[in-house]
Symmetry: C2
Subunit: 338 residues, 2 copies
Amino acid sequence: MTGNGDTLPAATVYEVAERAGVSIATVSRTFSDSGKVAARTREAVLQAAQELQYVPAAAARALAGRRTRALGAVLPHIDGHYYSQLLVGFDIAASELGLSVVLALASPDGVHSPHALDLLGRVDGIAFMAPSGADDEFVARVAGVRPTVTVARGRVEGADAVHAENRAPARELTAHLLEHGRRRIGFVGRPEEGSDIAGRHRGCLDALEDAGLSLVRLYEVDPVEDAGREVAERILREPIDLDALVCGNDELALAVISRLTAGGVRVPEDLAVTGWDDTVAARYITPGLTTVRQEIEQLGALAARRLAARIDGSPAADPVTIGSRAVLRASCGCAEPA
Amino acid sequence: MTGNGDTLPAATVYEVAERAGVSIATVSRTFSDSGKVAARTREAVLQAAQELQYVPAAAARALAGRRTRALGAVLPHIDGHYYSQLLVGFDIAASELGLSVVLALASPDGVHSPHALDLLGRVDGIAFMAPSGADDEFVARVAGVRPTVTVARGRVEGADAVHAENRAPARELTAHLLEHGRRRIGFVGRPEEGSDIAGRHRGCLDALEDAGLSLVRLYEVDPVEDAGREVAERILREPIDLDALVCGNDELALAVISRLTAGGVRVPEDLAVTGWDDTVAARYITPGLTTVRQEIEQLGALAARRLAARIDGSPAADPVTIGSRAVLRASCGCAEPA
DNA sequence: CACCAGACTGTATGCGCTTACATCACGGAT
DNA sequence: ATCCGTGATGTAAGCGCATACAGTCTGGTG
């Protein structure tokens, strides 16, 4: 038999109060440090609490205080750099604000489990970090009843929005390709209304227009490896006159490069390729992947802070955007650095 | 001005009860489907609830029901494949059991924010997914008062434990290296008591012993890219007679290969290298990284289910281990597949 | 036709905490 | 000496729900 198996009932304010020789109100005040407790008393309470291993019951606090002190985070249940960083930033910022984070992973297509609703009863505000999709309606509904922030999604009435910069960097990235002498450019990714990839697509078109050119081809696919491989295969099968491919994210770009290279296409000599996100693999593939790095953690932190502000009564604010910077490696045609 | 800014106070059982023409007990029963409600009544309640956009307040349920219906997950705040998958598995399993997940990220060195304590007041059970470290004491303390499960950590009295298989696969992997004719093998990673990497190290030694050999060198470093690069640099600087390197994880292996290759060492011809985790980059680097793949999601799911069982009264059970399988690519000396 | 077992539903209590409001002690101002 | 402001603490009333216990109503039995 390992351990005692059972757990003793936790101490309550009453027991702490009795032990410290004060009333429960004083215990409560001590733990919510409203500053209204004399130093001596405070010490005594803390001491008693420590001895009893007292931890305030969040449920009771939430019920009495009418706020849960928790934030909800909805993201697709896929692993990967982007969402991990987002979540890390969100959690750190939330915990700095004294808020807990409750998770609600949605399936990648945006369908929520019935428990996504439970979330509403658990938190003071919700951040939607999954890409726009089947849950648009749900988001709008939530935004009507709780402080809500969307992360890199289409605009929702009543919700705050935070974004990573897409259009301008995409424009620069594409312009960079043009400087390398590329002229026949294709884009890989589905530019869905309000999504990150739509912004990247737009920026790519901007640069092209600046140069009096137009996009040779749009491969409208999901931003996943499989889709990237398929695009590469289509290119190998029906060669078209393309000298650069701007991919909506690194997953696509990596798969494209890998498959194309295996098929005999030289990257970047025959075809330059760029990605977006600066994932780990981007710096291990050959040639190194030229991509865009963003402070996704900051984005997550921003979301948490906006939510907290809304909860504290601030009105919804204008969308906020965080910056990004290109990481030039070899896949665009630059010389591989030492 | 965007949105109404304010949120209406949420509906309660009282309002639903009144609208449906029943008592609050019936509303409560309907939502906790204890099966004690007549179909007609149930319909009426659901209807009323829908109209009022009623969502049960988790805090009140928790307080009255004496259980939060939430699990806590403690993991280091680093991004990466492994922890994402773990969390995804944990969350999916938890939500299938009707439980929410509250996050508590600890800094990578195991130091918890003061808010890690809050977690105790918020959940019915806690899973520690961060590697053993500065928080060992905290884990033991939690295990004394709440159902607790450790994931890939050293044994803790009173806590359940789940692990991924390490020793046996490491033995096989090393044996595979021996089959390739390698004899002078080194290990990269710090084999800390009870950790995954300790198991891998042990398995590596097993295979060596089986063959009457011994480890040529142990590079005892943290399992991160920087450390891998430093090991590679040390090897370039002070060449030692090594023909294979078993790395504690992919991060190390990738960094080692990358740096070594840049320094003129041919992998796998001069030196074979293996990793662990089968991260994304493992299949994009050249040569493809031979590594071990594990169903980390399953591990997370297992943790959630054990916790739920403990909460429902089951006693602590014996540690559980999930399997794994080697993924042979080219870095071990195998021919690169098509 | 009286009686009883279910099957439902209602009443009432309390989960552990926050927070208005009341109380009290104390010291300076008048 | 009296009055009153100030700061510290206590009192008590819920917060929204689960649930034990007590009805109420049906239909089947003897």
